[in-house]
Symmetry: C2
Subunit: 351 residues, 2 copies
DNA sequence: TCGCTATTCCGAATCGTTTTGGAAGTCAAT
DNA sequence: ATTGACTTCCAAAACGATTCGGAATAGCGA
């Protein structure tokens, strides 16, 4: 199961066997044929550790998954992983997944990946305004690509979703429905994506509206919505993630109100689930899988030595209208328009 | 950043530095102190590839995630990963994640992990009745632990959830509510867990009831439930997973029926989401995280050489009652008992 | 002084691959 | 016969850690 073994049975040197399999042109066609045949016969597989040691590359890429409450369960990361996997496999790279609680643990995980040379590059998500991970990787000039921007003067590669525009347009949509008290249940504002979503909401509104900031779980969405309903009485609420929206949906129903009639709700992510909430959730779809594949492309280029300056992309998100939002109640002219809207579920209609 | 560097600045041999750091007792206390101090000073990290090559161990564990429609998105795998991560980190092992579509791709992924010696052991989930992966790993006598049993005469290590008992009890609960036409929306019966869940349902029922088998997605759950309602008119339906149940919930509402009154639904998994469906989903909770941690323990023992025979555990699952099931309508005596049940959401009551 | 045991250190081999810098042989042109 | 160009092969040196089998020194009793 080693080059030496093939070399032995064929009476060749290890060098020649290696070069034959690697496709060098200083190996005769006949010899190459004998080598590849024998390699196939014994099902030769190169020893990954030896290759890595010699080449000085790990041939692997790292991802650190946060395990804080509500973080890791997030389908967001799973969707990212599912898209990263095949893209990396196509490039012959392994995927090393580490889990860490945000905080000291987390930086230790990144340091271990970098300093033990376990990976050649890193993908990271859920960037923060002041992101210690990004600062560290930049300091080490270690190749990485982020999903999301961050507040630093130094250039790094990223793919981001334009949450600001998406949330501005979603809020404008709600304004167009006649809503005036439009709340936002946001993620903690240390997250960069929360910044942008809030900025978009604020831009459309002109002035601050009812706001809550919570970690993105169903439970927190529920609590925040219940609180919002009690103290601020919004007629529409934008939720920074679908998980928050699911909790919010429930809080509205729990208060004896009807989602889409008494209170409009718009989410963000377009989880598979969103079609099957009641009512089906109007939400903002972001192309996570495509973004993840692009991130892998960028990372390969970074590992190959390309500069990050040209690798900064912000992609649009698109609102998918379902039935959790609609015309504001206080607008009298609208009552007759309501029914068709809620009876029409674009998903169900094609079943 | 190598032993040679430390040896150089300290005027020692590489051997001594290595042995000092490894804790051998043929190194004087004074030398060991000098070595550890210098190692700390330059923040020495052993080269993972070199260590692996020399020791002949990968110091990593592999997981292959299925990427078929509805498979990978499944929160099940994310919950597993989130529990595996810390347990492996504690043992100093890396986690190598590969993605593969079930089929040829999948076996290639397993072969690559084993034959390129990329991992020392493998964790696998969603076992199947005739599981090619298990057969292969047994053939290679490669250490692995499965989540779920399989139909083979050869012993292997596993942790499984007793879905049969859980589903029997859930079905008995529905029978106790007066339901007589109790359907099952199962996962494809190539999956072992589907076998057990169906067996439990069947055991309680005595005779086959309305049955559908689909891949576990919301969409498929929706379709299967709609079909079931049209052709079989069940008053209660057991769903093999919560994702199926979410779709089923929607199909019931879509048919103009009320979940918990006209049709009872029970899921399986107890996703975080289950509390926030409408109505909140009665479902069966399985301790995935604890099981995953136990699987890691077993895998470490297997890698250390322990036999798998004593590593076969089946754990109980527990039903958590929420509001998606209740007394059957046709039973006249029950009408006054219904209301309190559905107004009482054990989760909400503690908020 | 001689042997003996502890203590402390180190040279060299090893893991399996890649790669540098030739070496040996063939062939045709001079 | 010599030269040069080409083809085909290989020895040996890496990569960095681990480990076997000593070696050197010191201390001690006989």
């Amino acid at each position: 199961m080693s080059l030496a073994q093939i070399a032995g049975t064929l009476g060749l040197s290890v060098t020649t066997v290696s070069r034959a399999l690697a496709g060098y042109d200083d190996v005769s066609a006949a010899t190459r044929a004998r080598v590849t045949a024998e390699a196939a016969r014994i099902d030769y597989r190169p020893n990954a550790a030896a290759r890595r040691l010699r080449r000085g590359r790990a041939e692997a890429v790292g991802v650190v998954l946060p395990t804080a409450a509500g973080q890791f369960d997030d389908p967001f990361f799973l969707r990212m992983l599912s898209a990263i996997g095949p893209a990396l496999a196509a490039a012959g790279l392994d995927l090393l997944v580490t889990t860490a609680r945000p905080g000291a643990d987390e930086m230790r995980a990144y340091r271990s990946l970098v300093e033990n040379r376990k990976v050649d590059g890193i993908l990271l998500a859920r960037t923060r305004r002041h992101d210690e991970r990004i600062a560290y990787l930049l300091d080490q000039s270690f190749p990485f690509v982020a999903h999301g921007r961050s507040e630093t003067s130094r250039a790094f590669a990223y793919v981001d979703i334009d949450g600001e525009t998406a949330c501005r347009e979603a809020t404008e949509r709600l304004l167009g429905f006649g809503h005036r008290r439009i709340g936002l249940i946001n993620a903690p504002d240390s997250y960069m994506f929360a910044q942008y979503r809030e900025a978009g909401w604020l831009a459309a509104l002109g002035a601050p509206g009812p706001l809550r900031r919570v970690e993105a779980t169903e439970e927190n969405g529920f609590q925040a919505m219940r609180d919002l309903l009690r103290t601020d009485g919004p007629t529409a609420v934008l939720c920074a993630t679908d998980r928050i929206a699911v909790g919010a949906l429930h809080a509205v129903a729990d208060a004896g109100l009807v989602v889409g009639r008494d209170v409009s709700i718009i989410g963000f992510d377009d989880l598979p689930l969103a079609t099957y909430t009641s009512p089906p959730l109007t939400t903002i779809a972001q192309p996570i899988e495509r973004a993840a594949r692009r991130m892998v492309e960028m990372l390969l280029a970074r590992i190959a030595g390309a500069a990050p300056d040209a690798m900064q992309e912000v992609w649009p998100a698109t609102l998918v209208a379902r039935a959790s939002d609609g015309l504001a109640l206080q607008d009298p002219q609208t009552q007759q328009n309501r029914e068709p809207k809620h009876a029409t579920n674009p998903h169900l209609s094609r079943l």
